[in-house]
């Protein structure tokens, strides 16, 4: 048993919509997997099925060796699930929330454990504050602390850093890596590219289906993108003219520069040719970024879905 999660053809159907549509997924133990995809692509729904909160309509799978369909209660004991929306009790203090969680999971040496958690998440300052009075970032910190109180084997984090400042975000990721080193498996959904790059592997889903999966380098390579960076006067007018051109997948301004990507290198060259002669512009070929790749995947998927 080296895989924390394996699911096969997992689907969830709401009404007529296949919100999650035949997902196959394997997450080895001790790894951090990033879960990416546009809004409404089915990330939260998939995570909920993995932790036994939703019954899959089709497919099968195991989580920590237990069957998703029949052993949800066993799974719940060993999983730490951090919901996308803050879901601890706002009219309880930080400490009371942690105590409650510890009791739910039957944590031994409760007091010592909670002191420990308060310490390592820097929550001591706020331990007697009502959770509802914390700022957004501190709420997220409490949530992460609370879902790891019982030493879970698998952490499912649904956009844990939404609304968290960069410093705190970095600390979050330090914690996540520390946990992974101690053997915990992590599946974390995010919309941040820098966070995706901190994962061992990323899974990109769209319309409930996995579009691409692998290390960030794999994901970029599989997109087969060519990216040009153009710098100089009036690059924005180029942006206007290239907008909607079939050879161009992404056009992203970065300060005075513009990044132009396309999946067909030759077609892209042809599209750019008219502008190449303009004086005062410098053109350089750049390695494509993860963001370029994701936008490409997103657009391709949108075209396919019509």
């Amino acid at each position: 048993m080296t895989d924390a999660v394996t699911v096969h053809r997992l689907s969830k159907i709401y009404g007529r919509r296949r919100v999650v549509d035949g997902i196959d997924l394997t997450i080895p133990k001790g790894k951090i997997y990033g879960f990416l995809g546009p809004n409404g692509s089915g990330k939260t729904t998939t995570i909920r099925m993995i932790c036994g909160l939703l019954k899959p309509d089709e497919g099968s799978g195991t989580c920590l060796g237990f069957d998703l369909l029949t052993q949800a209660e066993e799974i719940k004991k060993r999983v730490g699930y951090m919901t996308q929306r803050f879901s601890y009790w706002e009219d309880l203090t930080v400490r009371e929330n942690l105590f409650f969680v510890a009791d739910m999971f039957g944590v031994k040496n409760k007091r010592a454990r909670i002191e420990n958690v308060l310490e390592s998440f820097g929550l001591h300052v706020y331990e007697n504050h009502l959770a509802g009075t914390l700022s957004g970032g501190w709420k997220q910190r409490l949530a992460l602390a609370a879902c790891s109180v019982h030493d879970p084997d698998l952490l499912l984090l649904d956009e844990p850093t939404a609304g968290v400042d960069p410093q705190a975000r970095r600390e979050f990721w330090d914690v996540i890596h520390r946990l992974a080193e101690s053997g915990i498996t992590v599946l974390v959904s995010t919309h941040y590219m820098d966070e995706a790059e901190r994962c061992h592997e990323v899974i990109y889903i769209s319309y409930g289906r996995i579009v691409v999966q692998g290390t960030t380098d794999d994901v970029i390579a599989q997109a087969h993108l060519t990216t040009w960076r153009v710098e100089g006067k009036d690059v924005m007018s180029i942006k206007e003219k290239l907008k909607g051109h079939p050879a161009v997948t992404t056009l992203a301004p970065f300060g005075d520069a513009l990044h132009i990507s396309g999946s067909d290198a030759r077609a892209l060259e042809a599209a750019l040719a008219p502008f190449r002669k303009t004086v005062g512009l410098t053109w350089t070929k750049e390695p494509s970024s993860l963001e370029d790749a994701f936008i490409y995947y997103m657009q391709r998927q949108d075209r396919q879905e019509g």
Binding site: R48, G52, L53, L54, A72, Y81, S87, Y88, D91, F100
Partner: protein, 377 residues
Amino acid sequence: MIQGSLRRIGAVLVKEFLQLRRDRPTLTMMIMVPIIQLILFGYAINTDPKHLPTTVLIRDTSLFSRTLMAGLKNTDYFSIDYETASEREAYERLQKGLTQFVITIPENFSRDLVRGDRPAVLLEADATDPTASSGALASLSGVVDGVIWKDLTGALGHLKNQSAPFVIEAHKLYNPEGFSHYNIVPGLMGVVLMMTGVMMTALALTKERERGTMENLLAMPIHPIEVMAGKIAPYMAIGYVQAIIILSAAHVLFNVPVLGNLLWLSVALLIFIVCNLALGFTVSTGAKNQMQAIQLSLIVFLPSVLLSGFMFPFRGMPEWAQTIGSMLPATYFIRIVRGVLLKGSSFVELLPNLWPLALFTLLSTALTMKVYRRTLD
């Protein structure tokens, strides 16, 4: 195993207490509702209405008749505002609710009185509102003893030595059951407990769903029974507090007696409160938000107000209403409270109402466990 379960129940219990303690408006409401209701309805208990409209059907005009009427007036309960010789007219007034009492002074009243035949004066009371007439009826004996005696002088003096020169026969119409006027207290207890019990639990769970904490709770390894047990306990305490408030206020303010054993009452209370909380749980599973939870609770609660014997005497209701009424736990609870407080019923006498109540509680708990969803679906 058991230990873990108790720990989880305890944690939910502590959590509910903490949340409730910080929710002052709700807490205040739950304490104030019974007091306000009791004071409002207590009006109906306490009133010892005087000067009730009285019609006299005079078949015999004599000095004695006059004295009798004056005596009735002196009790302050009867206000004789209509005199007639027509029986039909007198009863019509009673039926239309124009008068509370019809007093019939029979033909040859004074002759029979003088002869020592002890004639009977008939007093018929509209008892649909039992509170209204009970005081008046109680005052009647004084009228016989005290009033006419002063007219029995001289040659008639010997009549004083008889037990009573005439009798007043009181008939209660429309409510021969002789409903006690304290009946409002048991009813109120049932209704207040049900309202707060069902609504508070329904709200407690719906709040969890609305605030998103339900998702968290469901993701934790806790059994629905444990959630229910933990959540019920604080409301059980509140239910007892409410019952104590109603009982003591009724006893102190309105002299409502406690004739029976309070132990059986507290047993019934326990069963009834759990029943309501289970119903509240069930309601919450059908409600998407707190507003819906309140509305659904009211729907569940309304039949009990109307058909449990709180508003109308149970046996006075049409058969279909009685059928519905006998399917409501509140009906049985109210009977038990009435039995304990007003009739001093023994356990055996209470049993026919206790077991249906217990059955309802079992059924509603089972129903809750069936509809309580363990996933977010």
